[in-house]
Symmetry: C2
């Protein structure tokens, strides 16, 4: 733990816009006094962005990295071939204790791979997972996994639930987070093989498990945590994003045709913006990687400066709340159920 | 084939509202001349609804069924214990050639089970599937499976694609339907084990397969068919429904708080209604069961009279377009790839 503000390494080269969005976003968070920012990436590109702004006295520093992981690279190859990528250097900083956490809007697979191998996993966690804060009618719901693990076993999903429950507690302030399992029906007994077996594990766990949740109730805000595998979770969060965009485009098209008249146009566009903000999960900042020894968050590739600032703030909160330490404890407390070895032993019986 | 209008057996007892919604809906379709309607269910309850309306000269008849499958019954038990349920009797009518097709807003699992065992499967089809017409920015996209098969093998998904492609052609009039596979990334190589193996089968098929589609592109309308397993598909369609409802409730809440003022309220509510209609997949009528020898459609339990009328119309179109005959041909044309036996042989190599 730092003796004052959390030190967050920021992959300055990540995202669709690179330093142009990342640097101002990180500066914004530094200005707000939420974190000490370490910008990692091409020092000239970063310096060019910094030179255009008043940064005097701000808690920022720059660490040079000569390479960038491209979006079409395989994580394993990127790790092997680009030892000096901005992602790898940021991971090294966390590993070496020079940073308390990191964020990247770059290649999420490469970030996960680098972090996993450089920083290491929480003892007992076999599969780190990506959590996201899904907007709901009331507030936000933690959903995991949303893309790290597309083929899972029941004990993986249980562990996602255990870790996501800690996030709901530390990051959202929920006292005894309500946990549900995503399935094709509410009733016990609904689900594919994976969901059915996971149901039993969740029920046996220390979690406040309330049963299955259907797709139609994801946004009602009645639960704090939704558990699913990374294939389904990825489809779910991208569908929410896509549906909001599509609705927006449909409405805009009608406005252009004068369907609602002039006053209606303005009012409906306001409503639309509020909709979009509600459903834009990137607004909430970043998606924590759960199960790593360090505090790592990935951001949407399309993140703008504001989203990057939110992500820095969220990473700082993740560090300040000692989320990883609570997460380790929760994993240990459920290790009898989640431990891969115990699971393997069960299967052999 | 009937020598005039398709004869559609309608489960009058199905849905959240039973005869009260189903009967007027079916009458509406009969009045519009789209089908000859056979109302199946408790004759007194049906007669009570009919007595309140002018039905003289309409092509309707009633077939009594003394039992109703309740929503919490297991399909297998319902089939065994309720030989005279409205669903079973409707299936019998189709089997015996007394009806050309059937629709039910009742227990969808029981409808599928009854239809499968009473009417039988198209040769070569191992797993009948449920298709739905997902609304998109442009028109509609056929998505399957949306709930019949939660654990699938790659050749099942291929067959869903083959059958859904026929639906896109016959029901939506798409010439050479564009088929995509739902996955967690657009790039080839993305996906869980099931999706990856299905990708290769789809590419080798006679379908116009264009690759993976992500959740965010489901509503853009760039493809005609989306293939997925019934677990993911069910989550996807229910999420769309839920997100639209949640957005509606959020907006209504703001309207009530006077956020948009009096004129704005009216205009924004209009926009909201159009949103809801766009995203309410029940508006399109029913969800065809693909792979059965008869024409069977299931409807949303919450279907109102208008939705039931749409479903009758859709069933009539399904019959008139000889969708099942085209579907049989398409399945046969891809049997080398889809046939379970061939698949099993491949696995043994």
């Amino acid at each position: 733990m730092p003796n004052n503000k959390p030190r967050i390494a920021v992959d300055a080269m990540g995202g669709d816009f690179g330093p142009r969005m990342v640097v101002p976003g990180a500066l914004h968070a530094a200005k707000a006094g939420q974190a000490e920012v370490i910008l990692v990436g091409d020092q000239d590109a970063i310096a060019a962005e910094l030179s255009r702004r008043d940064v005097k006295g701000l808690p920022i520093s720059v660490v040079h990295a000569s390479q960038v992981v491209e979006m079409d690279e395989k994580p394993s190859e990127a790790m092997r071939r680009k030892k000096d990528s901005s992602i790898q250097v940021a991971c090294n900083l966390v590993r070496d204790g020079a940073a308390d956490g990191l964020i990247s809007a770059g290649h999420s697979g490469a970030t996960l791979a680098c972090a996993m191998f450089t920083i290491g996993r929480v003892p007992g966690v076999e599969r780190p997972a990506i959590a996201t804060f899904l907007p709901s009618e009331r507030s936000h719901t933690v959903i995991a996994d949303v893309g790290a693990n597309v083929d899972c076993k029941p004990f993986h999903l249980l562990q996602f639930g255990v870790m996501a429950s800690v996030l709901a507690k530390t990051m959202l302030g929920r006292e005894n987070p309500v946990v549900a399992l995503l399935s094709n029906g509410e009733e016990k007994g609904k689900g594919n093989q994976l969901a059915k077996e996971t149901f039993d594990l969740l029920r046996a766990s220390s979690l406040n498990f309330v049963g299955n949740i259907e797709g139609r109730d994801l946004f009602a805000g009645n639960v704090d945590v939704v558990v699913c595998d990374g294939f389904v979770g990825n489809v779910v969060i991208k569908e929410a994003e896509g549906l909001a965009s599509s609705m927006g485009r449909v409405l805009k098209g009608e406005l252009r045709r004068g369907f609602f008249g002039q006053i209606g146009t303005m009012l409906a566009l306001n409503a639309l913006k509020r909709f979009a903000r509600l459903m834009d999960y990137t607004e909430y900042g970043g998606a924590p990687l759960m199960g790593l020894k360090g505090s790592c968050l990935i951001c949407h590739g399309a993140s703008n400066a504001k989203a990057m600032a939110s992500a820095v703030r969220m990473a700082a909160r993740f560090v300040a709340m000692e989320a990883n330490s609570h997460l380790s404890e929760a994993v240990a407390a459920n290790i009898d159920l989640t431990g891969p070895r115990r699971q393997a032993a069960n299967e052999q019986r």
